[in-house]
């Protein structure tokens, strides 16, 4: 059992591009759920549009990457408006169902053979992200690694995560500033008692819509980072469970806190990769039953995602405020 490898892998996942993507998605979700109380279960739809908006602009239309990114984010604004106008007045559970459905509709359409000329359909789309990597200040090369042991990144990855964590910091700062303002206090009052906010003359619908747009754009940014990281997008990467992972990260760190989503995303990937690495090591030393340790079966991934489900249940039951949260800020007894 080589724990240095396990911890190295876990640390790499915790600070790598996946954690950046999850952190951005969770920051967006925090605006929706943590501060406004919107049960958005279609967060992955925003990530999908961010990723595909960028990829399609560059790969299909041949535009510059710096045009593609705003296009992706603009699509997220459009999705928020299209989703919000009909559904923000619904009960919380119905809103949850609609948002899941909407994200699935997008994934099915973008991943269909009919869309093959535009989005690559069921095949993944790939584009040239050179415009981004040309700016890379880190030295690159087949042997160049930054870090120690398995906790190491290539020059390209270093550039992605440098920009990525900067975006995370900026998004967190932006959320901090807007939530601290009078506008943010209205959001929280809507979360705590929608009717009270309404009776004070606040336009609840409009505030919810603004929150949906802001959180959606931040999630779209997560999609953009994902697209740049892989130089493309694949419809299978945007299944509903991505949204559930985002909830897990948010609840783990602490909903309705400024640093909660970031801590949650880092911990989520650390624990997930730790478990997977640990299981791989167990399998290598033949301490697992054959059916589970078959190296081709990818069972460690299956188990770690199952653990996410278990973690969600336990978190909600025993520590709904997460690591840094405040229990009174949680949506405990909404009808």
């Amino acid at each position: 059992m080589e724990f240095d490898i396990i911890f190295g892998n876990a640390a790499r996942a915790a600070f790598g591009p996946e954690a950046v993507i999850l952190a951005l998605a969770a920051i967006g979700l925090n605006v929706h759920f943590g501060y406004t109380g919107l049960l958005n279960f279609g967060q992955v739809g925003f990530m999908l549009l961010g990723a595909y908006g960028t990829s399609v602009s560059v790969a299909t239309f041949g535009w510059s990457l710096w045009v593609g990114i705003p296009v992706g984010l603009a699509l997220c604004v459009a999705l928020a408006l299209a989703l919000g106008i009909p559904t923000l007045r619904l009960q919380a559970v119905l809103f949850a169902i609609v948002t899941i459905a909407a994200a699935e509709i997008l994934r099915l359409i973008i991943g269909s053979t009919d869309a093959i000329d535009l989005t690559g359909g069921p095949l993944s789309i790939s584009f040239d992200a050179g415009a981004f990597y040309d700016l890379n200040p880190y030295a690159e090369g087949p042997q160049v690694r930054y870090g120690v042991g398995t906790f190491a990144f290539t020059g390209q990855q270093m550039w992605v995560i440098t920009v990525g964590w900067t975006l995370v910091a900026l998004a967190s700062l932006a959320v901090f500033l807007i939530v601290r303002s009078p506008w943010g206090r209205v959001l929280k009052s809507i979360r705590d008692d929608e009717n009270a906010a309404r009776s004070l003359g606040k336009n609840v619908f409009s505030y919810k819509m603004q929150a949906l747009v802001i959180g959606g754009v931040i999630a779209g940014l997560a999609g953009v980072v994902d697209a740049i990281k892989t130089s493309g997008a694949d419809p299978n990467g945007f299944r509903p469970q991505v949204t559930f992972f985002t909830y897990t990260a948010l609840l783990l760190g602490g909903s309705a806190t400024y640093v909660g989503p970031v801590i949650g995303a880092i911990l989520f990937w650390f624990l997930r990769e730790w478990i997977e690495s640990f299981l791989r090591q167990l399998a290598a030393e033949a301490w697992l039953p054959q059916s589970i340790s078959d190296p081709l079966s990818g069972s460690e991934g299956v188990i770690s995602v199952g653990m996410v489900g278990l973690a969600l249940i336990l978190l909600v039951l025993f520590r709904p405020q997460g690591i840094v949260g405040n229990r009174t800020e949680m949506l405990i007894d909404d009808s």
Partner: protein, 448 residues
Amino acid sequence: MWRLMRRGTALLGFVLCVVFACVGPAAAQSDDGTKADQDRADQDHNTAGDSDGTAQTTLEGTIRLGFDRYIAGVEITVTDQAGAEIGRTATGAEGRWLIAVPDAGTYLVTLDEETLPDDLGLREGQETTVETTVFAGMARAVVFAVGETPKTTPFGERFAQRAFTGLKLGMIIAMSAVGLSLIYGTTGLVNFAHGELVTFGAVIAWYFNTSWGGLNLVVAAALGLIVCGALGAGLESGLFRPLRRRRLGVFQLVVITIGLSLLGRQAIQLFFGAEPRPYVDYQVQDRWDFGPWAVTPREVATVATIAVVLAVIAITLQLSRFGKATRAVADNTDLARVAGIDVNRVVLIVWTIGAMLAGLGGIFVGLDADIDPYLGFQLLLLIFAGVELGGLGTAYGAVVGSVLIGFATEISTLWISPELKFVVPLAVLILVLLLRPQGLFGIRERVG
């Protein structure tokens, strides 16, 4: 009440046996095509798309119908944009073809439709020539969507056939939806893990059908349903009843069921595997011709069984003491409690029956398409659509809504590509929420 439930279980098992017995033994000669769900024909992308490390630039693909019919001898031609031929090949035994191209660029790939077997053709709207771009050193997969409905079939006949498939899908959704709707009605819980109950039923029956004794599917299904019922009862008494006592909010409950859904699906995948697998029995059957309909005996059995089960449920809800108690609890739990109804027992039975119905739905899905861990989750959104269309919390509404959703889903494939058919119910779901949030049969409630 326990006696009543036992009687209900026995009745269900009996109905199943009778209907399956009518189906008769499996006939061995004819290949039944509906088994291969058409929309899977297009999903053979990733296997071909991965580059294996060689730097050769290739175009490749697999011509197949679903997962069980790979079509050999189909001629594929690749030309460059100027029209010069780069290569020509025919698909091999596993439907595979591969043509190396000299350079990155855009090429035209043409499938010779004449070389397809007579009963197959490219799906409507599909061109025989596809333009594709390949990057240097990459393998680019090219998809030709092959369908089995020949274009010569008259529209009326295709409509009738789709309508039957839609009815079958709708009834499967309906059966699963009744449980979801009753659970919501009696406890206010929207169970996102209901899809995993569906999968669980299909998978448990598969084990009884194969590795745990190789029982006949009818027996395996009956045993599987007992396990499903036990699981439902266990979830209620072990998890959801204690949770109700803690008076959790909507959000907590939704997230807990989502967590359960993830946990359940992954557990199933860990033991069952991700590969789709079929049942052993009733796979190859001769079709019966009824005018415009050509249906397999197992499809008739599916529809008939579900019709009987739903009728039994309706009669039980309407006439029996348990049914009245259920409706009373759904109407007003507190009033029901002061009227002397044992609410927890009613909910326990609702969970047991709901889980059995979901499991039976899964078995019927598995009978027609292979079983995989995502089977139930895919159905879940359709179940939501059906329940919401009918009106959340109304059992009869859920049935009508689900059947309509089934029709809409299948009939839409007359005009749109089958892989997009699941967009239809989701779009209906959103439209209903927009225009009539209480559903067709629900009572309007003012929100916000």
